[in-house]
Amino acid sequence: MILEALEREGVEYIFGYPGGANLPLYQHLPEHPKLKHILVRHEQGAAHMADGYARASGRPGVVFATSGPGALNLVTGLCTAYMDSVPMVAITGQVPSTVVGRDAFQESDVIGATSSVTKHSYLVTRIDQLPRVIHEAFHIATTGRPGPVLVDICRDVQQADAERVTPERLAIPGYRLNGHVDLEGARQAAEALAGAERPVILAGHGVILSHAEHQLQELAEAAAAPTGTTLLGIGAFPVKHPLSLHMTGFMGTGWNLKAVQNADVLMMVGMRVDDRVTAKLAGFAPKVKTFIHVDIDGSEMGKNVRPQIELVADAKQAMAAMLPHIGELNPGRAAWLTQIDAWREEHPLRFKRSNGRLQPQDVLIDMYRRARSEAIVVADVGQNQIWAALWWNYDRPGLFINSGGAGTMGYALPAALGAKFARPDVPVWCVAGEGGFVMTAQELSVAVEHQLDVKIVLLNNFSLGMVRQFQDDFYGGVRSQVELTHMPDFVKLSEAYGMPATRVERFEDIAPAFDAAERTKGPFLIDFRIDPEANVYPIVPIGKTLNEFWEAPES
């Protein structure tokens, strides 16, 4: 019954792991060849794979896990998806309804443990609830602000027989979707933007989720408003566009931060305005007279920054509604754009090559050159993530995937595999540090088993680089527990899993290694032994305002 319901929802892949409490599901799985089940090596891997699948395809990712430890292993993956508004449906087995609450074998309160990291959850104790619940779960996961939904199903319910009913029309009275745009608000927002002397637009993940990139570009051009993105918004605006401010936030580009800190009107679209974007909140965008906030989730309004104009709506519809009202621009605009260009010159992205070691930026520049705005790049967490974000040079959205909100190390490999399942036609690159990589490296089995053509770019700096940099820069230079010694030989490790790999230590070897990777069909890993002292710049010191960013030393 559950499997039929999944077929009805158009599910193609399930990422899962069996166990005592979901055995009935697995017993009947072979009868449903349309549902392709990917056996992961750890449930966290299943959640991240489903997440990568969802971000790359726009369809909800589906996960199976058993009760107790199986379901609890999903928590990090659910949290990652929840923080980044990724549609997912997790179906977990629960002990039989007759023993719920008696601390039965492998019983745990999964609903309780996941409530704060799911958009919604259901405990199913009766078969007649099932068709409705599954249908609702998919509806809630994919509409409005998307997110993970968990359905915990008692084992006896999985086995129960019942009349096959197709769920009636949805009736979820407590589920509100913010539909139409407040047209008066849209007009005011447009007028504020056009009338601003120093406008800035920042775009978040919501712009990508709502496929609003064209509206964003039209609006930015019509209003001649410099436009940047958040880490999760990367790709929403072409990096090489003359109005581009590239990435914002505490590791954003210098010219972006200058623009934000000097803007008089700041429009924030499809973003949460979290502390990684604002740095010290009290000093965020201090010259702004009018904040415009567009988000589909009304609770984002004023959660961190109080907007003067708020539009609770889908980003695409909101910006489309604003466009016709962009009238004459403030005459100060030309001077503002000239100023932005000057800041771009003064504060370029740069890095030092002086010590003869392999620089991560050189690796990524070559990777992006080959990717030509076409490949999906999935980054892990840490320095590797920020380098991959800053050296991103695409003109298209939806191709940069990373755990922005939760910052989950170990995300990249399984998410990249999920993305490849979703888009077998598109090259997929996985960028990771060696610390995060080994957190979920067991999923290499999945890559090899399914011969997934994913190229792994390991930026190996023999340390927890980001933490090492924070210790160096902000915690008195005390390096504590950040050296990663006794790591495996990653080439041998890959070979042990049955996939080819190579190692690169010198600049000259970057291109040949990438050539080899591209020639190989199937997974391939390159262990780039990078400069262990390489740092991420710009960076805003902890507790400081965006104005106070540090830059890379000039080379």
Binding site: I111, G112, S115, S116, H120, S121, L123, I140, I172, P173, G174, Y175, R176, D297, G298, S299, M301, G302, K303, R306
Partner: protein, 155 residues
């Protein structure tokens, strides 16, 4: 302090997870419950909660918005600052000799027994507070106090 308190009337689904979800959302956002009462609503399958919540450092309206995000929550009405009828109930057992002063304040006797007399008193939060203070002077055997029940006054 009282400026930090929102008074909300919340219509919710009668589901196993409803209270957990509501209290979870309140805790996670750094709010604090100062008073709560729950009872069935007029509609079958629904309950009405009256909540007094301290919104801490968040914007006042965040309490309503965060509750509205929950699928189990059907409607949130913010009654803060409105003209309302608000009642809390206190039930107390005192020794019979102490009854007089309490009756003068408007308490009603529910039952009398050898170990004490049980009285009830209802009123606005402050009145109930004052009544409880008074009780303290008279040697309470036992006391139980409810959260608020609030309804908007009709014009």
């Amino acid at each position: 302090m009282s400026g930090q308190i929102r008074i909300l009337s919340v219509e919710v689904e009668d589901a196993p997870n409803t209270l957990t979800k509501i209290s979870g959302a309140i805790r996670r956002r750094g709010f604090h419950v100062r008073g709560i009462s729950v009872g069935p609503s007029r509609e079958p399958g629904r309950f009405r909660l009256t909540l007094q919540v301290d919104h801490g450092h968040a914007e006042a309206d965040q309490v309503r918005k965060q509750l509205e995000r929950l699928v189990e929550v059907l409607e949130v009405t913010d009654l803060t600052g409105d003209e309302v009828h608000s009642r809390e109930l206190v039930v107390a057992k005192v020794s019979a000799s102490e009854l007089e002063a309490l009756l003068r304040r408007g308490a009603k006797v529910i039952s009398t027994a050898a170990d004490g007399t049980t009285v009830e008193f209802s009123g606005e939060r402050d009145e109930v507070g004052a009544f409880v203070d008074e009780l303290a002077l008279h040697g309470i055997v036992d006391v139980a106090r409810s959260g608020p029940v609030v309804m908007r006054r009709t014009q």
